[in-house]
């Protein structure tokens, strides 16, 4: 709901709970829920893209069929650890937030 200013009154919202634009989930920061942070060791990564395919939140950026050198999208990653689980090279570590 980042489309609206935080103090918007109910009368000024579009009816039916819609946001009158599309493609705005990127603006809504949900990564603050994360308890564990994924980190990829790029030197062991083979660019199989499993992490990109399996990420339920589109939080693994990819460029030119490669994830190497690109940071996870920590604004939206929930720390579920699926990427670490499916990685065939086990090169994604999950470390507790705050450490």
């Amino acid at each position: 709901m980042s489309h609206y200013a935080p103090d918007t009154k109910y009368q000024d919202l579009a009816p039916a709970g819609i946001i009158p634009q599309a493609g705005n989930a990127v603006e809504y920061i949900t990564g603050t829920w994360r308890l564990q942070r994924p980190h990829r060791r790029d030197e062991d990564c083979i660019d199989c893209l499993f992490c990109w395919v399996y990420c339920p939140d589109a939080a693994v950026p990819v460029q030119g069929e490669s994830v190497k050198g690109l940071q996870f999208d920590y604004d939206h990653c929930k720390g579920c650890g699926i990427c670490a689980q499916v990685c065939p090279k086990k090169c994604i570590d999950m470390t507790p937030e705050g450490h």
């Binding site: 709901m1 609206y4 918007t8 919202l13 039916a16 709970g17 819609i18 946001i19 634009q21 989930a25």
Partner: protein, 393 residues
């Protein structure tokens, strides 16, 4: 020309659906509403309608598909009963929140357990807080008429809410009555073409539907949704008047049957209101000033209007065809006494639980309830208002 035809309630509903010719019907049949979608699917197969009929694998999917089709921009209808409505429960709230004017005929049937296929109102009562408009019909004609009006009410730009068209299982759904079937053209002209508001398929103007909505905006969205119900009440009356002008049968929020000068009144909805009319007539012939308030709109509940219609009565009996387990009284009664309290009216009232699981109710039983009302008036409001009619004890 309109024709008078013998029809079952279910056939009458299917006939109205054929005349309305909705864009999408996504249905999963369940007794006693099965015949509605069965008959309608024949219309689809025979090319008598343009409807996209989706055979889904459950009522949860049926209501999901209906809601999605309505959000996409279609005029959408469906029918269900009992466990089917219960399985739709999760989606019902979403349909209303998304202001998707899906029209669902609910052929009222008791909820399990134990398993029962006959009429009571536990299914629709259970959905009363979901945000749908609920219209209740007494007989086959009203089921047909209410369905046609539901389209106009739900799609009205001041309303934009889904509508349940409730008729009693078997008692109405499987009863043959003489139905005035209106002209196809007249029905189509009355409902008019559907103009969807911000449909999802308008790809030139993309929107986001049903996004994550937490502590920061959810409350405001619910507050906005609550504003739709007072106008809905006005639209129900407006459409009912126009229906009366067009087809000769006018409808309002409720029907007053010999109520105005009545001293003792019954409040009921569904087919039992017809039985109550017999009781009222008998008692009038006997010298008792009896009357009936037959509720049509249970949601939105017309509280000030009901209180005004009941003003000055000496005692009331409110008939509930479903319990609310653990509550001090049952849904219709609670609404009625709430309405009276808000209007500053103290009328002794009892709550009659009757007809669960299809248990028959006959005029003599309602007459007996009426005959107990002078005593209720004399002794004042009973602390426990609940009375049982028709149960062995």
């Amino acid at each position: 020309m309109p024709e008078i035809k013998p029809m079952e309630g279910n056939q009458a509903i299917a006939e109205a659906m054929r005349q309305i010719n909705p864009d999408v019907v996504a249905a999963y049949p369940i007794t006693p509403s099965t015949e509605i979608v069965q008959t309608f699917s024949t219309f689809v197969a025979n090319g008598e309608v343009d409807t996209n009929y989706v055979a889904v694998e459950s009522e949860h999917s049926a209501m999901t598909a209906c809601t999605a089709a309505a959000v996409a921009g279609g005029r959408v209808m469906n029918a269900t009963s009992s466990q089917g409505l219960a399985l739709m429960w999760e989606i019902l709230y979403i349909t209303a929140s998304l202001r998707a004017p899906v029209i669902l005929t609910v052929v009222n049937r008791a909820l399990s357990g134990n398993i029962n296929i006959h009429c009571d109102h536990s299914d629709a009562y259970g959905a009363r807080d979901a945000g749908w408009i609920q219209l209740w019909g007494e007989n086959v004609q009203e089921g047909y008429d209410n369905l046609i009006q539901a389209v106009r009410i739900g799609e009205h730009l001041d309303v934009r809410l889904p509508v349940m068209n409730c008729i009693d299982g078997f008692l109405v759904s499987h009863s043959y009555e003489l139905l005035q079937v209106e002209d196809d053209e007249a029905v189509r002209a009355f409902v008019g073409p559907y103009q969807a508001v911000k449909p999802l398929l308008d790809i030139a103007n993309p929107i986001t539907v049903g996004p994550l909505d937490l502590w920061d905006f959810y409350f405001e969205h619910k507050r906005g949704q609550l504003d739709a119900y007072p106008p809905a009440k006005e639209v129900i009356v407006e459409v009912g008047k126009e229906f009366g002008k067009t087809f000769g049968r006018e409808y309002g929020l409720f029907e007053e049957y010999m109520l105005e000068d009545a001293e003792y009144a019954v409040v009921a909805l569904g087919s039992a209101a017809g039985t109550a009319k017999d009781a009222v007539e008998n008692l009038r012939a006997d010298g008792m000033r009896a009357g009936l308030l037959k509720l049509r709109a249970f949601r939105p509940f017309p509280a000030p209007e009901v209180a005004a219609a009941l003003r000055g009565k000496k005692a009331l009996a409110v008939f509930d065809r479903a319990a609310s387990f653990g509550a001090a009284s049952f849904p219709l009664y609670s609404e009625v006494i709430g309405a009276l309290y808000l209007a500053g009216q103290q009328i002794p009232a009892i709550d009659i639980l009757y007809g669960l699981g299809g248990r028959e109710i006959v005029p003599e039983q309602i007459i007996e309830v009426f005959r107990s009302l002078p005593e209720v008036a004399a002794s004042g409001q009973p602390a426990n208002p609940v009375r049982y009619v028709g149960v062995r004890e």
